[in-house]
Subunit: 474 residues, 2 copies
């Protein structure tokens, strides 16, 4: 496809190697981990500075060219997919890490730095940026912020939003905002940072951030895997650990269906005999006095809240217990065809919701295997449905999307969210109304119109088309 003249004119003003239309690069940079949409961008642009990002955006804005901001492309909702001839604006050449400010515990980084690079950089000073999840080696800080990333440490540290002090953002027309710097407190009118955090690239492009750091946690935190008789007892257990004197660093749930898949994937033996129906992995903060943890667990056993348990006694065992939880995603993908959802509910609704979901599947889709795991301390469940052998992939997709409708209605009935962590992107856009009211959608469109009046930024993402919106095309 020949480049539109406006784009050629823009490129002539920028460094020669900033852009490429090499087909394999366009395919790679035009997609994320969804692998559902066919990538079809026109151009890949990789600026080296925020000023270059501004010039690219100003040029695209003037010429009505749609732009898809691109980080580590580890997303699961199609938020970074370019399928309609867009320019992909990759931040990957902007990955500088500033000096760690050990007094203020802050760190300025460019948006293309990976989450893991930030961890390593901070760790060298005994500090920690507590956004932590499996894809941290590829995911970038800009992407973390644009999706308000969660992960396995939310229960202790909160979401990405809590760990961002300053943002440099380039708006659709090339205007650059430097928001809040390194300030913890700044009550000077509307906090514009908050608009961009979690907005999935539809309001502006984050080019750098000043991150808030905290002390690095111990690598030797007490960690236990518990066998649980019912889903409800996992919630009782959650209540107990929060009432105890221990501080919770992680509280992860998974069902025995997940564990069986992990065992099949690895060829490993079950951790408990007899098999329980449910598991909880708990990491506690800091030291516990000798015997204190044993005594607490003994109390849980004697009340049948827990049927068995393994306490990690060294860092190898600790890693082994964590691997059971962390391997679930990979094991599900490797052992079958699955359909994923990432939902959240008020914690008090989890038990009722899970019961109704099981009934829904048992009645309408008895051959579907349900594999549930998640951060239940945050009300967040990853709901996975596995394709039965007898169904074709196509027939499974059709039925799974039927289940989605029923699942989201159930989520709505329990005042939940259809996307806890993964975002809306392209994938969940048709379902957004299950979690947001018409008035909210109208207001979001109004905000989008102020920040990106021509709709060039990540078009077709997040917001369903409103009556006043026009679709851009090259």
């Amino acid at each position: 496809m020949p480049l539109p003249p406006a784009l050629v004119a823009l490129l002539s003003t920028l460094p020669a190697d900033i852009a490429t239309d090499e087909p394999s690069e366009l395919r790679e940079y035009g997609t994320d981990r969804t692998r559902i949409f066919e990538p079809r961008p026109t151009l890949l642009v990789r600026p080296r500075t925020s000023a270059e990002v501004s010039r690219v955006l100003a040029g695209c804005h003037a010429a009505n060219i749609p732009v898809v901001p691109s980080g580590g492309r580890t997303g699961l909702a199609g938020g970074a997919v370019a399928k309609n001839g867009e320019v992909v604006l990759s931040l990957e050449r902007m990955r500088a890490l500033g000096a760690v400010d050990t007094l203020g515990m802050t760190l300025e980084v460019e948006a293309g730095a990976t989450t893991e690079a930030v961890h390593q950089h901070a760790e060298a000073c005994g500090l920690y940026w507590p956004i932590d999840f499996a894809s941290k080696g590829s995911a970038t800080v800009g992407g973390n912020i644009a999706t308000n990333a969660g992960g396995v440490r939310v229960i202790r540290y909160g979401l990405t939003r809590s760990w961002v002090l300053g943002l440099r953002v380039v708006l659709a027309d090339g205007t650059t905002l430097a928001l809040n710097g390194a300030l913890e407190k700044n009550n000077t009118g509307i906090d514009l940072r908050q608009l961009f955090i979690g907005s999935e690239g539809i309001l502006g492009v984050i080019t750098s951030a000043t991150l808030k750091l905290t002390r690095a946690p111990s690598r030797l935190n007490p960690t236990v895997l518990l066998a649980i008789p019912t889903f409800g007892s996992a919630l009782r257990l959650f209540e107990e650990v929060r009432a105890s004197r221990f501080e919770t660093m992680a509280f992860e749930y998974f069902s025995d269906q997940c564990m069986r898949r992990v065992e099949r994937y690895r060829g490993s033996n079950p951790p408990f005999s007899p098999r329980p129906a449910h598991y909880v992995l708990i990491e506690l903060e800091g030291g516990t006095a000798d015997g204190e943890l044993d005594e607490w667990l003994g109390g849980l056993l004697s009340r049948s809240l827990v049927s068995d348990g393994i306490i990690a006694s060294d860092s190898t065992q600790r890693r082994r217990l964590w691997a059971l939880r962390e391997d679930i995603s990979e094991a599900l993908t490797a052992t079958g065809v699955l359909h994923k959802n990432d939902i959240a509910l008020p914690i008090a609704r989890l038990e009722a919701f899970c019961g109704e979901l099981e009934t829904l599947l048992a009645n309408g889709y008895p051959s579907f295997e349900l594999c549930v795991f998640g951060h239940i301390g945050d009300g967040n469940l990853h709901i996975n449905i596995m394709k039965p052998e007898v169904l074709s992939v196509e027939a499974f997709r059709t039925k799974a999307s039927e289940v989605d409708g029923a699942l989201f209605a159930l989520v709505q009935a329990h005042h939940g969210s259809i996307s806890a962590e993964h975002g809306i992107g392209l994938l969940k856009r048709p379902y957004l109304h299950f979690s947001r009211s018409d008035d909210e959608l109208a207001l979001m469109r109004g905000l989008k119109a102020v920040l990106d009046p021509k709709g060039i930024l990540n078009p077709e993402k997040v917001l369903p088309w409103g009556t006043n919106e026009t679709r851009l095309a090259l």
Copy 2:
């Protein structure tokens, strides 16, 4: 002043006792703690439900009548002042407290509930809403959220923004949004809650909130008052405590000028002899092993980072140490005429800033006494200038406002905020450009225009008038 006909028509559709124009009530509800602006509202309206708030706003919107939302009126920036014939919309009749959800650790409350009422309600279940400051007996949850309140626990728990799950907000035209419910995680497009938190009532009226709670902290946390030779050593001390194994619950600074005022106000004796130039009050979390704290303090003494210290050995002594810090505001007001500012800086800039501020005053205003205290762990300083005996109050106000210009320029040079906690309101509006760029101000005006196109909500607050804005009048 007779009520405008549109207002009379509106009132005829509402419960008879909802509104009053009794002059003493108008005076009381038309002002906050600034006491600088003459209150002159037309009417006080006190709805009992969110639906009534919606009807009041829809009516005022239709008739172009400006509205000032009103909470506990403990603000220090004039954010709740009604001085141009506005309708004051008080939330004080909406103070219901829902049942505490001990599993999810959440609590739904109406906006007019006081911060203290929320504390007591949560405490009965062993839980805590960690927004805590001196005026909590009068300040309301709605006001806390609308100003993103800080206080003495920010270093441990963060600002109000981190402790709000759901919001019910009525927009200028009466539209009601129910945002996020009781969800910790909800990545479904733009997080509209964040717009209203800290917006000082210019974008919508918060009528209820679902609060996130945490475990109640111990009342017996180790607390120490330390005598410090220089301001810089207070910052070194801050670095040391964060590098220690203790968890910081509070880290408060005050100068000896503040301490002398407290002593004069109370007629009490100095805590240390000889007097130090600076003080730090530290509260640490949880238990420390026997002798651990003594040992740590001994190390600080031996390195001359600290010249003396008092460890609270029981809850009475703990309260006594805290009272030294908490009485400062009252002592300054009672012992002189003062001019206040509440600023924030990146922590790494605090030392240089304080040095330059002292030079500025010594050179230009040698007779002004400077009393500085604040939450230096958050980069937040309360800068107070005391009127010299020889100056009239009027001459002092004029000179103090000269100092403001120079002070804010210094804040700007160090990338700080001209309002850390108190907000902008009416008082700081002329100075907003010291902390926010023209592009930011333009964007804020754009957002205001989407949410409140007629500009009826808290007019003249926060945002300097833009070229496209028109001033409303009854």
